[in-house]
Amino acid sequence: MNLKLKALKKSLWVYHLSGGSCNNCDIEILDCLTPRFDIERFGMVLVGSPRHADALLCTGIVNKKCVERIKEVYHQTAKPCVVVAIGACACSGGIFRDGYQMGGPLNQIIPVDIYIPGCPPKPEAMIAGIVKLLEKLK
């Protein structure tokens, strides 16, 4: 297994990206930072630039205005990276699927590695999902 993937397993640097969400999944992601769940003890850090990220956490239906942005962020992210679709909206469009602003669920725009459903998924569910992903990368 190459060095990068090895590093991925040790401490995952994540970048959060919203494609038009109700904000709930985003807040639950931030909740992971807070003392109750504290993902920093696993070495997971929220970074400010996609270039430093190992994982993209995407929430929200991909709003038509956001499609180009999301594609660009994905291109900017250093590969290899994993893409995590968080929440029912990112997985399938959720309750907004039939609207005129729906740019397509996330996997129509960029390739997705793991889906964490829920509205919103609890922080425990998100951590469990990431752990499953890391197991899969082995």
Partner: protein
């Protein structure tokens, strides 16, 4: 060779992890002072009003919950008020008190969330961690009562869907007593901190005239001395039967907005405690079943944490609304930046924009146009937050 043409690129760039929703603000400035601000929204527009026309009346309650994650109960509350206004019905007493409890618990969690964010923008990371830690206890209670930390699905036209069980009430009371102590500590910390006073007083002032011109509501208006609160003006649910007061201050600056929110949390704790006294041991009905909606129109509003949440529904007797107009409080509050940011320093913009507690929150990409030098710098919100923190540090050294 200089590249004279600077394009505003769409990319994300350094991005602050606390920014949830994508928004676009363009700041025009001369040197350090802001002269104009432009707002381009739509990155969050999900066609909800149109989707509402294709859903059954009861399904719409679930749809509008997902307009916003932070104030997710406010929209069903206002929507149910609107349909009940159309029908001209009232709901069972116990349902009224349950609705109040959920609404007020949401107010506490939303204001604590804001306090955390504001602390972070100013460089007080401890406040962020504390505020969100105390918030967790409220979210836990939500999970025990409703089954979910957010998106509680408690509301239904005609009442509420679920009861608050007697066995959960003592735990809720304990959480509230604990929280009241922590809130008092937070409030005193904010009021007593000399640097915060210098940093926030006189910043981003909105006068009564600004409030009127933009139709601003909620803590933004109450901090400027305009006493508008739907719970007192057009009482609904159990609010007229409970003893509480509207929090209002005079100066309209960011400091006052923070104080209003913190004091409101304390008021909410009292409201919930009174409502629980009514609910405990009460075996009453919680739902007036509604079978069909006749033609007509209805208007309902609710005092959400950010202000008045307003819904207008029109029916032609069918299973779905013909028209459902939704006005979140931030639609009227966010444009006040036109008044509050102009003439202020760039280093204060982050906290002024956040003081409105926008539900389409902070911007991810902010373009700063320097009119004098006629060039366009690309600042991100994280840069504005850095400027904001530097300013706090400067003041800390002076004080």
């Amino acid at each position: 060779m200089k590249n004279k043409k600077k394009k505003v690129v769409v990319p994300i760039g350094p991005y602050h992890p606390l920014l949830e929703e994508p928004e676009f603000f363009a700041l025009y400035c001369e040197g350090e002072k802001v002269v104009d601000v432009e707002w381009q929204a739509g990155y969050n527009h999900r066609a909800i009003e149109k989707l509402s026309e294709g859903k059954h009346w009861d399904q719409v309650t679930f749809l509008v919950e997902r307009i916003c994650g932070i104030c997710s109960t406010s929209h069903p509350f206002a929507y149910c008020n609107a349909v009940e206004d159309l029908l001209g019905i009232s709901i069972p007493d116990k349902a009224k008190y349950i609705r109040c409890v959920i609404g007020e618990m949401e107010r506490i969690h939303s204001h604590l969330l804001w306090v955390g964010l504001a602390g972070h923008f100013l460089g007080y990371n401890t406040i962020f961690m504390w505020a969100w830690k105390y918030r967790e206890s409220i979210l836990e209670m939500f999970e025990i009562i409703t089954g979910n930390r957010n998106h509680y699905a408690m509301f239904k036209i005609g009442g509420v869907r679920r009861n608050i069980e007697d066995e959960d009430i003592p735990t809720l009371r304990k959480v509230l007593t604990n929280l009241a102590g922590k809130l008092k500590m937070l409030t005193n910390a904010v009021l007593d901190d000399p640097v915060l006073g210098v940093r926030l007083k006189g910043v981003g002032v909105l006068t009564e005239e600004h409030i009127k011109d933009f139709g601003a509501i909620g803590p933004v208006a109450r901090a400027s001395g305009v006493s508008v609160d739907v719970r007192k003006d057009d009482p609904y649910s159990a609010y007229p039967f409970l003893d509480w007061k509207v929090i209002k201050t005079q100066n309209g600056d960011v400091f006052d907005k923070a104080v209003v929110r913190l004091l409101e949390c304390m008021e909410s704790v009292q409201i919930i405690e009174q409502a629980l006294n009514f609910i405990e041991g009460n075996d009453g009905e919680i739902l007036n079943e509604v079978r069909e909606i006749p033609p007509g129109e209805g208007i309902g509003h609710h005092e959400a944490p950010r202000g008045e949440c307003f819904h207008y529904v029109k029916s032609d007797g069918a299973n779905s609304p013909v028209r459902h107009k939704i006005r979140a409080p931030s639609s009227n509050n966010i444009p006040t930046f036109k008044a509050s940011c102009i003439g202020q320093m760039i280093s204060d913009v982050a906290i002024i924009l956040a003081a409105v507690d926008p539900c389409y929150c902070c911007t991810e990409r902010v373009a700063v146009y320097d009119i004098e030098k006629k060039n366009k710098k690309r600042y991100d919100f994280s840069d504005l937050v850095e400027l904001s923190r530097k300013r706090t540090e400067e003041l800390r050294r002076e004080v």
